[in-house]
Symmetry: C2
Subunit: 204 residues, 2 copies
């Protein structure tokens, strides 16, 4: 048997590259949660992660792209997209994940800090988009699986479903101070389920 | 004809009392928009309004109740509750009013400042509640009139309808950075209309 030797990979998954990435993003997240968005320093993050500043900049060209990656990492690692076999139950799990996350004081501070920044802060648009991107991708998977199971028809908009599910909770947290209670969660899940689509068997 | 002389009112509407109230709330609002919630000073507001500090404190016992009244005044004066004769059109007008208000840079700053403050800031709960109270009362009127016209049945929850109408816009403004566009407005009006209730003629 003639086996070609594999090319030596420059970056093996789980190797030094992945370890560096994780160390830098962990340090960025800690700095973000402790110091806030505007006081995050790439130099301090590099020192905390035990790498050269140039190593950080080789992967993330700007501070804001690093911050965005750290926020995305937080969303992804703490909140695996559910796959319960039921669209409504998946939606309930996603909302409960989000309520649990924003119920942590250090995350609530980060959310408030993001909300406070005007669109003129450099990199803010990128950070905002990243904040939502992981969630939108997860919602797309949830909807695709619901279509495959025959629960809904194709065509639901993942952004619209996600906004319907989470917007009232953020409005209460950030603006009106109304409670993030079970009645709100029940209602938001129902509304998001309706936006995702009716049962195709019931709709002609 | 025997006409009793009216009792001399202590506070005539439009009299000195109303003028003082308006001057103080205007000054409070200006200070709020210029300096931000945490730097508002009752002494400076009283000076700006041309009244004694004790006059301000006689009406508003705390700085936060004054700030709350000023925010309520802004919401009320700039946004008379619409009465177009159609529930859907009323909802559209309310949303457009809110989009216009938060589209003004100085109001956007105030909204971001309110969102940024943690629940441990003295008076913040009162200010948040006041921020929403005028709108909820207006929505209650809109729904009552729709019931009276036979557009919907009784029982719609004004808070729920209002949250459905405005929450996605605040989520986009404060968190995700997605555009406050016409597609969003159309969708939010439709969703709020659905929450308000179906046409009673069509639902058995």
């Amino acid at each position: 048997m003639n086996v070609e030797p594999p090319e030596v990979p420059k970056r093996r998954p789980g190797g030094r590259s992945a370890r560096v990435r994780k160390a830098v993003l962990d340090a960025a997240l800690t700095s973000l949660l402790t110091d806030g968005f505007e006081r995050v320093s790439v130099a301090a993050i590099a020192a905390e992660a035990g790498v050269a500043e140039s190593t950080v900049y080789r992967r993330w060209a700007t501070k804001s792209s690093l911050v965005a990656a750290a926020i995305g990492e937080l969303a992804a690692s703490e909140n695996p997209t559910p796959n319960t076999g039921s669209l409504e139950q998946d939606l309930r799990v996603v909302l409960n994940q989000i309520l649990a996350v924003i119920g942590r004081p250090e995350i609530e501070r980060l959310v408030r800090a993001l909300a406070a920044l005007g669109d003129d802060v450099p990199g803010i648009a990128e950070a905002r988009a990243e904040f939502f991107a992981t969630r939108v991708a997860g919602m797309r998977d949830i909807l695709d699986r619901a279509v495959a199971r025959g629960e809904i028809r194709e065509g639901a908009d993942a952004v619209e479903v996600l906004e319907t599910l989470v917007a009232p909770a953020y409005l209460r947290l950030l603006m009106t101070g109304l409670p993030l209670d079970r009645a709100l969660a029940r209602r938001a899940v129902r509304a998001a389920r309706d936006v995702a689509g009716q049962d195709p068997a019931r709709v002609p």
